[in-house]
Amino acid sequence: MAQTLAEQILSHAAGYSVQAEDVITASVDLVMAHDSISPSIIKVLREELQAPRVWDPERVALVVDHVAPASSIQTAEAQARLRRFAREEGIGHLFDVGRGISHQVLIEERLARPGMLIVGSDSHSTAYGAVGAFGTGMGTTDIALALATGQTWLRVPETVRIRATGRLQPGVGAKDLGLYVARMLRADGATYRSVEWHGVDFLSIGDRMTLATLSIEVGGKAGLIPPTGPAAADLDVPNWLRVEEGAHYEQTLDVDLALLTPQIAMPSYVDNVADLADVGRVAVDVVYLGTCTNGRHEDMATAARILRGRRLAPGVRMLVVPASSQALELAIADGTLTTLLQAGATIGTPGCGACIGRHMGVLAPGEVCLFTGNRNFRGRMGSPESQIYLGSPAVAAATAVTGYITDPRELEAVDEAEALFA
């Protein structure tokens, strides 16, 4: 019987053919844990499970990204404990302060590969779907159990298919597609489901990560992009992993990319999405470009193209927090970083930054932020009296220039007009 990508990967992980709704025990290929949750994971592993060792140190990745560098003695101590744990266990894949956001790093390091089952201590572990891996987020106890046994239990999800056709207009990106899908499916539209994104073969791996990370925002257990198309050409795709004719999709959402315009998620729900054109004039205090959803080199480069030769609007701060050290290096090499700095932006240490309101750019009461991340929940980035709007890197840059939420295509029109009179 034809299977969805989720069914194929979970069949492989279970060792027999499974289908949606089966409750299975599966072998995991990789377990990711980050600094924020690692103290409690180590505690459950050692104290409650009394596991003397992790099942396979080669298949564990530890990342210090959530509060990196440490903001307090307490977080510093927890990170020191994590480093000690890695040494005790012989875990080589420890990515320390400054290397970047777990999801980005695991894909750059090619630890996340097509066909794998990856569990991570982070809800945005759906990110690994960008390379055709079934990535899913779990809590402390599940991660500790996976570390101890190399296994986890799962209910095989039904699949919601997004079927995109056509091409995106200039100024419109993968983020707009992701937000549009949240608008259509709503925050629980794919709860317990896998989200399969078809028709996006032309997207880079980075843009695929944008879609894969946003899959959890519609409740998805995983967000899978078929590992085909030019960006996937050098991925090592197992021969059993491919979109199969006749696989069962519980629901299909058709999207004509050519009709898509910049989208904005307004406070304080990710599915509170409207066309930017209908949002009205919203003045912002902060523009924040970063996160596992949109903090890559290509996102910074998109912003730099718009910011070249321009300055931030008076009174606007722009924080740029690269998703990884590699993204930062690329931004240095091609001049992107210089452009951003010359425009007046501030650069943070690669990692999660202020995404969860812990450090490096926390919002004050009354402040409004245009954020390229994935969640705009009340209080997410700081004060519960602040407001977060989600948008694409291009919208972020255009907004930084004008000081209010702006369609990047408007600025481009200004550029063209100026060129005419030059």
Binding site: V23, I24, T25, D35, S36, I37, P39, S40, V44, E48, L49, H66, V67, S72, Q74, T75, A78, S121, D122, S123, S125, G137, M138, G139, T140, T141, D142, L145, Q151, T152, W153, A187, D188, T191, Y192, G219, K221, Y269, I356, G357, R358, R375, F377, R378, G379, R380, G382, P384
Partner: protein
């Protein structure tokens, strides 16, 4: 008698325990006092053990932070009843042994008194008797064991694996 605490739809884990109040940032001993600290500050101060959370759909969406359901467990929340739960929250709560019932009781008023018999799933409130849909047998087994860790230590395998 338990008191009902009514919440709306799409209650997210940033509301249950904001990321800034994680044990990583604060202290584990204080965790229960942070439950709904900004969304509903009186909750942690005045709720009594056994009280029920009754909410709209998609309860617990957002982050994978297990300290969100843990804070509710440490406060002694008797059960959470909502038409649907976000997946990771559902798993985390199940793993911690917190009873969750998928049912829509949002017609019950905030502050109303009620009783819940967890074994039968029978709720009484204001003269009304409601039977909650029973959870799957394997879910009940995990609760009865007191969570996934005791379950695993007793059975030596994960739920659903017994018959394989």
């Amino acid at each position: 008698m338990a008191t009902i605490w009514r919440f709306g739809a799409d209650v997210n884990t940033d509301q249950i325990v904001p990321g800034r109040y994680a044990p990583y940032m604060t202290s584990e001993a204080e965790l229960p006092t942070f439950a709904f600290i900004e969304a509903r500050p009186e909750f942690a101060k005045t709720m009594q053990r056994g009280d029920l959370i009754v909410a709209g759909r998609n309860f617990g969406c957002g982050s994978s932070r297990e300290y969100a359901p843990l804070a509710l467990k440490l406060l002694g929340v008797g059960a959470i009843i909502a038409p649907s739960f976000a997946r990771i929250f559902f798993r985390n709560a199940l793993n911690l042994g917190i009873p969750l019932f998928e049912a829509d009781l949002t017609h019950l008023a905030d502050g109303a008194t009620a009783t819940l018999d967890r074994a039968t799933g029978i709720v009484t409130s204001g003269g009304e008797t409601i039977t909650l849909p029973p959870p799957a047998a394997w879910i009940r087994e995990v609760w009865e064991a007191g969570g996934i860790v005791p379950y695993f230590r007793t059975h030596g395998h994960f739920p659903g694996q017994a018959g394989n």
